[in-house]
């Protein structure tokens, strides 16, 4: 008798791994029966997780940490044994602004685009109409990536520009109606905005941080303890799904599956583009190939690096305006559970890194790293401004950010 697991998700391309684990029978091979519950807001995905409607959930990584630390609601410890993917988001600006700051026909250099944007920001400020950006959630990587980029380009969020929450399905609408000037969202929603002529893509978040943590699989800590065996089997099934997802031979079929009404209920052509790392920056233009736009498998992409959870914590401190607290920093780091990931994959062909934490942004060329199992070569994981995040010096890192 297959053990049942209920997993909540939002209809986004990066919700793909649990969906494909079910559709291709990888979960079944592990003796699991997955029940997938679709919702339309992160608040509801979280509510279902906290009140036991679901065992696990597709979640924006910072929200798992915010929930554990009790930001915005009473604290409930969550655990992340698996990262569902890195990056996969883009910044889309209203066309008139994109034309001033972007590089026609290709993705621009983040520093150059930022410098040009800073001029628009000053103009809008002096006209008394500050620019507004939409992100999908306060506690999302989208928010932190956008803010990181803006701040490093001399544009101070909350002072020079407003950043507000816009649900993904409304992003194109909000751009079109002029409610916001730009959005930072995952696929297929940038492409939907471009196809509707509501805006142009100017940057991929993978340009801001080449290997930035994005969605995670989150569970309540007690549920992880209670269903540990099933969760480990789920991890193996999702790893297989990741391998399948990145293989070009499967792109067409996987796009068709994800497009179905019960999953994304979207356009398979747009979904396939995202899977294939292709972006249509401007309506009517040629597709641009941006390698590792989405990052679901290579380099143990799904490994929950403690350092990545701690980087998210530093951004929470920075943008929520709270004081750095080393106990909270530790708690945030412990949300990510590399021990579970290792235990699930030991003895399989999947590589396992030797360390569980790393200096983020320090790799600028192919570097092989020591492993517990298999071989692993990391490629560039740089932040666009060259800053390096050393998790053993959290307080200094935060102090050094303006």
């Amino acid at each position: 008798m297959a053990e049942e697991l209920t997993i909540g998700f939002l209809p986004l391309v990066d919700g793909c791994l649990p969906i494909l684990a079910r559709e291709h029978g990888f979960a079944e091979d592990e003796g699991l029966s997955l029940d997938l519950v679709k919702d339309v807001s992160w608040a509801t995905v979280l509510d279902r997780l906290l009140y036991g409607h679901s065992d696990a959930a597709h979640m924006v990584a910072p929200l798992a940490i915010a929930t554990t630390l009790g930001r915005g609601r009473p604290a409930q410890p969550l655990s992340v044994p698996f990262v569902l993917g890195l990056n996969g988001n883009a910044i889309t600006l209203r066309s008139d602004i994109a034309e001033r700051v972007g590089t026609k026909g290709k993705l621009g250099d983040p520093a150059a685009v930022g410098a040009a944007l800073a001029e628009v920001v000053r103009e809008r400020e002096s006209a008394g109409k500050p620019m507004r950006f939409g992100v999908v959630h306060r506690y999302s990587s989208h928010n932190y990536m956008l803010r990181y980029w803006l701040a490093a380009c001399g544009i101070r969020p909350d002072r020079d520009v407003e950043i507000t929450t816009v649900p993904p399905p409304f992003c194109a609408d909000a751009l079109e109606a002029g409610e916001v000037d730009g959005i930072c969202v995952g696929e297929p929603w940038n492409s939907v905005a471009v196809e509707r002529g509501a805006g142009q893509i100017v940057l991929a978040t993978a340009q801001i941080w080449r290997r930035g943590v994005e969605k995670v699989l989150a569970l309540r800590e007690p549920v992880l303890t209670e269903k540990r065996g099933a969760v480990e089997r789920l991890i193996r099934a999702m790893c297989r799904a990741g391998k399948h997802f990145v293989d070009p031979a499967n792109w067409e079929a996987n796009a068709a599956i994800l497009a179905r009404a019960e999953y994304l209920d979207g356009d398979p052509v747009l979904i396939r583009r995202a899977i294939a790392d292709q972006l249509l920056l401007t309506r009517g233009d040629k597709l641009v190939h941006f390698p590792d736009f989405m990052f679901q498998y290579r380099e143990a992409a799904n490994f929950p690096w403690v350092s990545q959870a701690q980087w998210l914590y530093t951004q929470m401190v920075r943008w929520d305006g709270i004081a750095f607290d080393s106990a909270d920093a530790q708690k945030a780091g412990r949300v990510f559970r590399p021990d579970i990931y290792r235990s699930a994959l030991i003895g399989t062909g999947e590589p396992l890194p030797g360390a569980s934490s790393k200096v983020e942004g320090s790799v600028s060329q192919k570097t092989s790293v020591t492993t517990q199992q298999g071989t692993m070569t990391l490629e560039s994981n740089r932040f666009f401004d060259g800053r390096v995040f050393d998790p053993t010096h959290l307080a200094e890192y935060i102090a050094d950010l303006d």
Partner: protein
């Protein structure tokens, strides 16, 4: 007490409004339009906001409550205040409630109870309606299949029905399924 009901379904909003109208001392506002949601809530200055779990704007509202300095009194999801049982009931029913800080639990509970009951009643109504529609569609299909058998094999009506019932019993399926198969086959064979 000022209550805002945020629901993209005007029908459900009015069912809930009607339920809450029976409570004393409640002023009720319904917001069905997504655009300008935050500004509307700001104007209403509610003590309680009810919103269905299927509304994509929940994240917008939660952010507003968390960061807005426009509100004199902070609002939080009522999970802060209430007992677990009524929270679970509201999540099950598909409604979330946001309550201003300091509102007495004794005033919140009856209101949440009414909202939950109304949400459940509305969901039941919808499933009854879907079932009734399904039953109607089944009857139409059975009639159509009967007509096909009568025309193509020259059977009288009771005999045509009996044939379908026998096939259903033999195969352990519902008559509607047999009828559906007949209609589909007939269409494939070029019939109308």
């Amino acid at each position: 007490m000022r209550i805002a009901i945020v629901d993209e379904s005007a029908a459900r909003a009015s069912v809930i409004r009607e339920g809450l109208a029976s409570l004393d001392d409640c002023e009720i506002f319904v917001v069905t339009e997504r655009r300008g949601l935050v500004a509307q809530i700001g104007e209403i200055a509610p003590d309680i906001v009810l919103m269905d779990l299927g509304n994509p704007s929940r994240d917008v509202l939660e952010e507003y409550f968390a960061v807005s300095r426009a509100l004199a009194r902070p609002i939080a999801m009522f999970v802060d205040e209430s007992d677990d049982e009524s929270i679970a009931a509201s999540i099950d029913a598909g409604v979330s409630a946001y309550v201003v800080d300091g509102l007495a639990a004794g005033r919140i509970k009856p209101l949440i109870d009414v909202a939950v009951r109304r949400f459940n009643a509305f969901a039941r109504l919808q499933s009854d309606l879907a079932e009734a529609r399904g039953a109607l569609a089944e009857r139409e299909t059975i009639d159509k299949a009967k007509r096909i058998l009568m025309d193509s094999r020259g059977l009288p009506e009771p005999k045509a029905y009996a044939e379908m019932r026998k096939a259903a019993m033999d195969q352990g399926r519902k008559i509607a399924e047999i009828a559906d198969a007949i209609v589909t086959a007939h269409k494939l064979m070029g019939g109308k």
